[in-house]
């Protein structure tokens, strides 16, 4: 890739569908593995994509996860139509979750998704609109000099 080059991918995510859940993140990981990137960053990106995808599945109606890779960064954008996040500061707290018991029994709803993303990513930007939806943008730098 040159600096003018970038790679884009956009994958649909169905809300409430635990059969297809994880497919977008898997695809993103497999795609990133085809680039010559540090494995640790690919892992981070896969974790972020999976948590963001699962938040659409568990908390929203429908959405998509996009991937953009440039020379400088891996950017993952998860956008959904859904209830929005009522209190983002609260949602960022480890252990805070509004997931139902049914979702917890499947192993989700630990309230660790957004904190996990925060830990893995260099930048996390959350825009959310009540009863409309949420946009989560995750940036992982590929250059250590802050670029």
């Amino acid at each position: 890739m040159t600096s003018t080059n970038s790679y884009d991918l956009s994958l649909p995510v169905k809300g409430r569908c635990f059969v297809t859940a994880g497919q977008a993140a898997s695809k993103i990981k497999r795609t990133l593995e085809t680039f010559n990137l540090p494995p640790k960053l690919v892992r981070c990106a896969a974790i972020c994509a999976y948590e963001a995808e699962m938040n659409i599945v568990t908390h929203a109606c429908r959405g998509q996860v996009g991937l953009r890779v440039t020379e400088k960064a891996i950017r993952i954008v998860a956008e959904d139509e859904g209830p929005g996040i009522q209190d983002v500061d609260l949602a960022m707290k480890e252990g805070y979750s509004t997931a139902s018991q049914e979702i917890r029994e499947m192993g989700f709803g630990a309230g660790m998704g957004l904190p996990n993303i925060k830990r893995c990513a260099d930048e996390l930007i959350i825009d959310t609109y009540p009863n409309k939806g949420t946009r989560v943008e995750i940036i992982i730098h590929l250059q250590t000099n802050g670029g």
Partner: protein
């Protein structure tokens, strides 16, 4: 430790066989929550010890490149999950032991934690 050692130590049944029985297991982690697994696996060749048997656990293992999964308390996943693991080349085991016991036995046998720590040359990077 190898997967074959895990099978022997935990009297496990092999549900999906590894391509190679001598495959290395270098670290272990136990959880029943997907986000916990995503948060703690910082080592290569990690074995996941869990009571979760749904398809998401296989997806998670695949995303994290886990070495294998062992289900505790005799839990057996459905055909769909077995098939997913086969397709992905992910070894699945199960033991009648409870999670605490399975972890204790593996830890005593020298299997270390998969979480990130000071020492190790086995971290991802």
């Amino acid at each position: 430790m190898t997967l074959a050692d895990v099978v022997r130590l935990l009297e496990a049944e092999v549900l999906v066989a590894p391509a190679d029985e001598s495959i290395k297991v270098a670290a272990g982690g136990a959880a029943d929550l997907i986000s916990d697994v995503l948060a703690f696996v910082a080592k290569k060749n990690t074995l996941l010890i869990t009571g979760l048997t749904n398809p998401q656990v296989v997806t998670t293992a695949d995303l994290l490149d886990l070495t294998g999964i062992i289900f505790v308390r005799g839990k057996k996943p459905g055909q769909d999950v077995l098939k997913m693991a086969q397709q992905r080349g992910l070894p699945l085991l199960r033991t009648h032991l409870h999670m605490y016991e399975a972890c204790g036995i593996l830890y005593k046998a020298g299997l270390r934690s998969s979480r990130a720590d000071q020492d190790d040359d086995n971290d991802f990077d």
